[in-house]
Symmetry: D2
């Protein structure tokens, strides 16, 4: 049995680099040699508290579990019945492989799979969420269902390819907002990786104006680089008033909330014109005060999204392949595989302007 | 100039019965002789505080304004260009006639009209919301745009016909929840007129089970009469747990929140299965604490609705005409026109089991 | 190895009763003891020409293939990982189990699976369409994916339960027409089992009026029994003119074409009001002349459906369980299992008023 | 009363330049000084046969009617209640102002207005379709409802601005195909102005690949200039086979039929993969043979569109303002106003490579 290097989760917050068997792909699965893995804020959550909202799930601590869900690599083996991909192809991943058996999967809502986390035991439903409920990309190899793979365009580096899933999540957020965003005013609140991706995808699809809010000027500057028409520092201005002024007093068509700030949802609904829509792509750990009366009397719709969906990752990859979308400004740092703790520190503390920090699982210091 | 009796709003909370000119229908409008008008909780709001969320609106006090928006009657005159209706037809009303000129009206979202309340002055956009921003049905006559009229089936009494708009609002709520409710589990929270209508419309369209929650047993009993499969007294049971148990532990497909209780939205999202949807049809005057993390990690969508929309009133009227829907259990009391204050008292204080209380504008005591 | 009686297809049109091994359920599958199987017009097509439009498919002749796709029965064994159903439950079937791996399945469009027919060989994608590409219900036992099962309400007989999938197909047709059919005028062309089911499902959901056309008066009489408001004999009247007259000269909102008559599509588009919609649920073997100019200048949409979809069978079963829908008038004849050829003759030639003819696979003459 | 020069329609095919009163804008209308008007194939149809499919319409001959529907200009007067636009703004037009009173308008489907053509007589419903049922742009001035106006970006010439409505029609076609076209394969059949616009809008929104078919090589070359990834000459190749080869044998996701060729619809449905969709934007004057069986067994949807809709012209204008879309390659010729017959000849006979031919109503030879 072949072995590989992989980071595994011990007690909450503890990651250890170990040797682990290389997994084998089953039916409809492939083995990916992981070439690059980015760190996401949700990884920090998983490492500290376990994956959010796993139905019937057990905490993942001290179970030899490998986190990491934003990765890309090269197919080195295909499992039985796979002809969708061949060995040697470069692929990026999306996270969720639904069970294919529950009501939601049958509706095409595979990210809302009712068997989330059930890929174990007697009634294994086959759901996979790599880095959440099944082993992820902080390892040299990973197994992926073919549904969770998209091809990486040749001109895209390994590091940038880890951001395809982020772009796909942003695109999915615009899908649930109705999809027809050309000429619509779009407010993105929060200039983290999802928010910055929402700006660039929104621009690629013709939203106008695209207005970005955050409290960190350097992040807002990156927002301008990826296409924001206007940026607003929420620590210096009243963002609701500012958006109203920029939208002829009526408010915006669409808000994509990516900050998770406590007041973000309530601000979002007040930024909208009547009949506007909010996508909720982030959250804090405490409940938020929301003016429901404003929601009702203004016909506002709010859409929570759990990551990507509706094959949006594939569509985002196509925009990147066509050079209509370029996630590269979001990638700031790369570390060797065995420096994951340092990479996490840079990401978490935003050291040296870090946005997306990537490790290279095939690179070990010696 | 002919005159009529009409109630007008003085200072907040003050209604006076006066003589007022009978209005004249303009282009695309008709004059309705009002035969019956029901009292809605929003009327109390309008009378005390003015209509909610009128963009650019002025308070309606001491302006000779007549409230009342749930009425029916008989067409006695048609304005220029009207051949959609003829004199003598019995009609019930919906509330909103959009401007037909703003983005929302062009999308068919006439209840979200961006010119809400602008039917005055130099730039009169023609929006009407009778009983909110234009004179309503606490009067012997009212003018209505043809868009706000539906025919009343012969077998339906005047009193019951005032409830067609309520049924239409309930139907619209199910529309925004996706419309395909047959076989879906539907929770209705709050057994007021909208909630009870949601139960009966949900049943008519095949939702199953339909579960109703409230804190008043007598209201829950009416819920059973209009078709609720299960009723839960929220003051005696934990409704979230109860709903989970009744739905195999997974939660419901749909929640229609009609209570406006402070915790109602947060309870609603926790009653749902992953990927479930909430329609918000009621609200309190203070912000509510909402667990946004639960919304995001469970792909929940929330839809605020401001009254009816999408011609749902017409569709509800068709179900009533076909005897698939019967709002009559909601009508409990009728008073003569000049007893409006007493009628309001019965409605507001739920005296004698009052649910829908109706006045008859053609009936004066002498 | 246990054996069972099963009909198998030899040369085109040749069915033989043989002994065959009882199949074994795989992962996510169950074994159904078939209690009743109805005959569908598509069965005749499969038996004579093979299943329509199987991508990359081979003709099914002389391959020990068992047709029959409208069946119900009792679960006698569950395969690995199955806890959605237990042994002893009565179930009816839907036809299509998608591969879960192609674009369409990921969108929830499992009846449009791009791997239709690929459940064999090295790259077996797991698609199943029992009675089309995998063994069906003209046998004493059949294997079904759990996705293709719905529970049968207690009060529904075996014979009537075979019609649940037909009702589900009709419901799916109304789904693609927009779903919100209450108060909409619906024309059903063709009074075969799907057409008659469309009438009864349309009525259950509140369509009004529901108008049925056919050329056989006895079928139209059944249409009246299942709820048609008006029936038109197309051999005696010009159906386009008749529908126009019945719809105030404007035409209908919706047409569900179930006749497959050569002129049916062209008639359908001319029956509609501007902006109307057609569902195509039947077809003849030759191309039809269609006035495309009328389609374009009247904003008409046409939707082809290949059987059921979107879990409509489950929703139809719920309506039947609630007694809002009753398919029993469609069932006319029952024969023992070994009289399948006679049953087919009755069905095909409409002998003795036959509509739905059922065989009972557990009943042999001796 | 001021007069203007205008072309009017006499007998079929006869256009005469006359003096006519300058029209006055009514409520919600403006007066546009027409600066440029393009010729559309539908203009030729109107001039020869009258507007297609006008409900209850009379032929427009010898009624002093002015055709022309693709124009732009400058607002010189605003009617009562108009504050959406001010005098001096450059505007392009869309065609349809719905009545705002019928079922379709209330649904937001204003191009399917059931009162199409009824802007005359006692029951004038206010519908306008300039150049079809109300006076159009082959004149020095025209009246437009504010709903039919979009602002022209500064960097866009008068001539190119006449093409905004064409781009809007193409965008609307993609809307009805689902809107989420990024990464989807799109076949455009017919390289006329709508087809070429469909190519460029499809590319702007990220469709890939975009394949254009026509029988004229010079038109296909323009297709390449506006972004087609592949072009196919249908007179030299079997387009169905070619598309299949270019799409891995499975067929395309979407077809936008813009040729009106007799076999175009049947070819379109055979170019698609299962579950694919066709937008019908053109038609010939004779019915077409369509393989309905293929439509049904492959779950194909077809959508007829009558021009633009859903505010798509405004969204297209936004893409042009953002320089994501450039219709200028379609404009080939400009003539003075009094040379309309010559302009028509160039357009109709495709003289000198003519695609879009424009006249300048403010320019007279002397």
């Amino acid at each position: 049995m072949k072995t590989m290097k992989a980071w595994v989760l011990g007690n909450p917050g503890e990651l250890t680099l170990v040797d682990k068997p290389v997994p084998r792909p089953g039916t409809a699965e492939v083995l990916v040699r992981v070439d690059a893995t980015a760190i996401c804020a949700t990884d920090l959550e998983v490492i500290s508290h376990g994956p959010p909202a796993v139905i019937g799930g057990e905490p993942p601590f001290n179970k030899n579990f490998t986190p990491g869900h934003e990765y890309m690599g090269t197919i080195v083996e295909v499992g039985p019945t796979v002809d969708e991909f061949v060995v040697g192809e470069r692929v990026a991943v999306e996270i969720h492989a639904g069970c294919g058996r529950c009501e939601r999967c049958r509706q095409g809502m595979y990210t809302s799979c009712l068997n989330y986390g059930r890929n174990y035991g007697e009634f294994n439903k086959g759901h996979r969420a790599n880095g959440f409920t099944t082993d992820g990309g902080f390892a040299q190899y990973a197994v992926n269902h073919t549904n969770t793979l998209v091809r990486v365009p040749d001109h895209v580096s390994d590091e940038v390819a880890t951001l395809i899933v982020t772009a796909g999540t942003a695109m999915y957020g615009l899908d649930v907002l109705g999809g027809l965003v050309a000429g619509e005013s779009l407010i993105v609140t929060g200039a983290g990786p999802i928010g910055l991706s929402a700006v660039s995808v929104g621009k690629a699809l013709g939203a106008h104006p695209v207005i970005l809010t955050d409290i960190v000027d350097s992040r807002l500057q990156v927002g301008t680089r990826v296409g924001a028409d206007v940026v607003i520092n929420a620590s210096k201005e009243n963002v609701v008033n500012a958006v109203k002024q920029l939208t002829n007093g009526r408010g915006a068509d669409l808000v994509f909330e990516c900050s998770g700030a406590p007041n973000a949802v309530n601000d979002a609904i007040h930024m909208l014109k009547r009949g506007g829509r909010v996508c909720l792509g982030a959250f804090s750990n405490t409940p938020s005060l929301v003016d429901i009366g404003h929601v009702v009397t203004n016909n506002i719709y709010l859409y929570g999204i759990r990551g990507e969906g509706q094959s949006a990752v594939r569509r985002a990859a196509s925009l990147i392949a066509q050079k209509k979308l370029d996630p590269s400004p979001l990638h700031t740092h790369t570390f060797p595989f065995d420096q994951l703790p340092k990479a996490i520190q840079y990401f978490r503390d935003k050291l040296d302007g870090a946005i997306k920090v990537v490790i290279k699982p095939q690179e070990l210091r010696d």
